[in-house]
Symmetry: C2
Subunit: 345 residues, 2 copies
């Protein structure tokens, strides 16, 4: 068995069937701990194949135990280094941990801007660590649907912690917050003005804000400023009618390089997750608003895909093309065209 969790797939002996049967076999093997099967299955999920769907249908009842942790932040904030440090700390405790590096960049390049590759390679032979990059392909919203599915597979495969890392520069951090149990926003001590503005959006999704590069001058001061800012924000939000803010994020200072603060971060994450579990009064976690919202988002994503599939049906492609042509020529407005297409569905 190969220990290379990042392997793109390759041929998997014994798996030759197609579609649902292929998915069933992959699901069984992945759940049984075969890393190559897991890698292959994630590729099927990423490519939205029938096999991937069939596998997820099988594995879904087994999922729901892992702590899904979103890690986001502006480019250069230090996300990948922090993730690597968290993995190291989790492994010291013998806990199985998976990393999903979700790349929301151009679907054309599918560029890999995430992942501390060099640092992560030291885990290539560690069966308790699984690392995977995923590009968000195709239509918008695909990021969330694919990531939730991939996280559920890793969850079902027995990983206790699933770290979902994504660059937070727009819609993506909101999507990640929607699918994670806990969202960590990473913030470098010094950042430009425009990045600061983006950061404001990021902070709204944070359960925990990590000021990275804690060894740098000014990191302590940045953490204090953030705490002050978030206190004011929480007060303003309470004042704003109809928009209660249920949580005020913790701010932690971490130096991934020296390792300072990493233990505390993992402890804070565990505390948050345990609190949820205790609230349920036992081993089963409650279906809180967060989990319900995640399920709704997931459901909407699948519904959108299903509807898009219907439109892509070759029998309808000609209708769609003709309607688009009329819209492009400004002979028909897009609403009228859409309504006519919907009638034919």
């Amino acid at each position: 068995m190969s220990g290379a969790g990042t392997a793109p797939g390759g041929d998997l002996p014994g798996v030759t069937a197609t579609g649902a049967e292929r998915g069933r076999v992959l699901a069984e093997r992945a759940a049984g701990g075969e890393r190559l099967a897991l890698a292959r299955l994630l590729t099927e999920i990423e490519n939205r194949t029938w096999a991937g769907e069939a596998a997820l249908r099988m594995l879904y009842p087994r999922a729901g135990r892992a702590h899904l942790i979103g890690v986001t932040g502006a480019p250069g904030a230090g996300k990948s280094t922090l993730v690597a440090a968290l993995v190291g700390e989790a492994r010291k405790g013998g806990r199985a941990v998976a990393v999903l590096a979700v790349d929301p960049s151009s679907p054309i390049t599918g560029g890999a801007i995430l992942g501390d590759r060099v640092r992560m390679q030291s885990y290539a032979a560690d069966s308790g660590v699984f690392i995977r990059s995923m590009a968000a392909r195709g239509h918008a919203g695909g990021l969330a649907t694919t990531s939730v599915a991939a996280a559920a597979v890793l969850d079902a495969a027995g990983f206790e912690l699933v770290l979902i890392e994504t660059v937070g520069t727009g819609q993506s951090e909101v999507e990640v917050a929607a699918i994670a149990d806990t969202t960590v926003v990473v913030q470098a001590p010094e950042m430009g003005d425009e990045v600061q503005a983006i950061k404001a959006g990021l902070l709204e999704v944070a359960d925990i804000v990590v000021v990275s590069k804690g060894d740098r001058p000014g990191a302590q001061r940045a953490a204090s400023q953030l705490r002050a800012m978030l206190t004011v924000g929480a007060r303003e939000d309470r004042a704003a009618a109809g928009r209660p803010r249920p949580k005020r994020p913790e701010v932690l200072l971490v130096s991934a390089v020296s390792g300072e603060g990493v233990v505390e971060l993992l402890a804070a994450l565990d505390r948050r997750f345990d609190r949820e579990a205790r609230a349920a009064g036992g081993a089963d976690r409650p279906i809180d608003a967060q989990r319900l919202a995640r399920a709704e988002a997931q459901l909407s994503g699948v519904l959108s895909e299903r509807m898009a599939d219907r439109l892509r049906d070759p029998r309808r492609a000609a209708d769609l093309r003709a309607a688009a042509r009329a819209v492009a020529a400004h002979e028909m407005d897009p609403y009228t065209a859409a309504d006519r297409l919907l009638e034919s569905l």
Copy 2:
């Protein structure tokens, strides 16, 4: 009549009807050059109201003449300054120009990270300039749908150039490229590694790459490097079977501060647009692949919205909630749940 194109709306005398009738009145007034009506109509479009839809249905046949120019680039690249310079240059020629600053940041904050506000205020009294910020609200993909609708309204209102400015840090620049006739990617001469990687994605959508801050040391060299890189890229793309690259972007050096290169940029934009018009052999522009793709994206966006509306129907809300609860409890997988919901539609 107010010259404040950026006015959020306010009360518009004489417009009190609701829904379709209200949309009709707003459409007539906006097309007639009433800036306050135009501002109000764009708010309706942004909020996806029936009035906005009714207005767009009316205005759509009048649209299709403006040159829609996407301006994107990483945070800090100098987009807003460039847009302000382009507006100034267009006004020297007496051309009506609209700016749509599309903010793809958090739907929670709706933060305004775009727009060179100070510089733009000098146009507040100029009826040939209209400036508007729009937040991308709600679901993913909404950016494109709302922006296309807003651009069509500005187009129908007689603006010759519509500049659609957005920060390019993920999905958004691809979406903007999909809705623009011409896409300008702004690139500062010096940028960090991670930003470089994002840039690679940006460059793929570019018709014209502007190296901004052309007065800075190294700008000339950055432009040369980009030209070399894009030549190699074009060659590689030709070599890659099945993925022909139809265009190789021009690289222009612009200093928005000194004004150097701005005339050349506007000339390059006009050249591109005229070439298209000439290809059609007359005043009417051809329905090229770009415009067809835009119409298809627009149509898909409206279809998704329509389908989402059906799901949000109060009579179905209970079904959706129950299904989400089953998925959240891992009693049912999202695919099975989605299929059952679809059967009931």
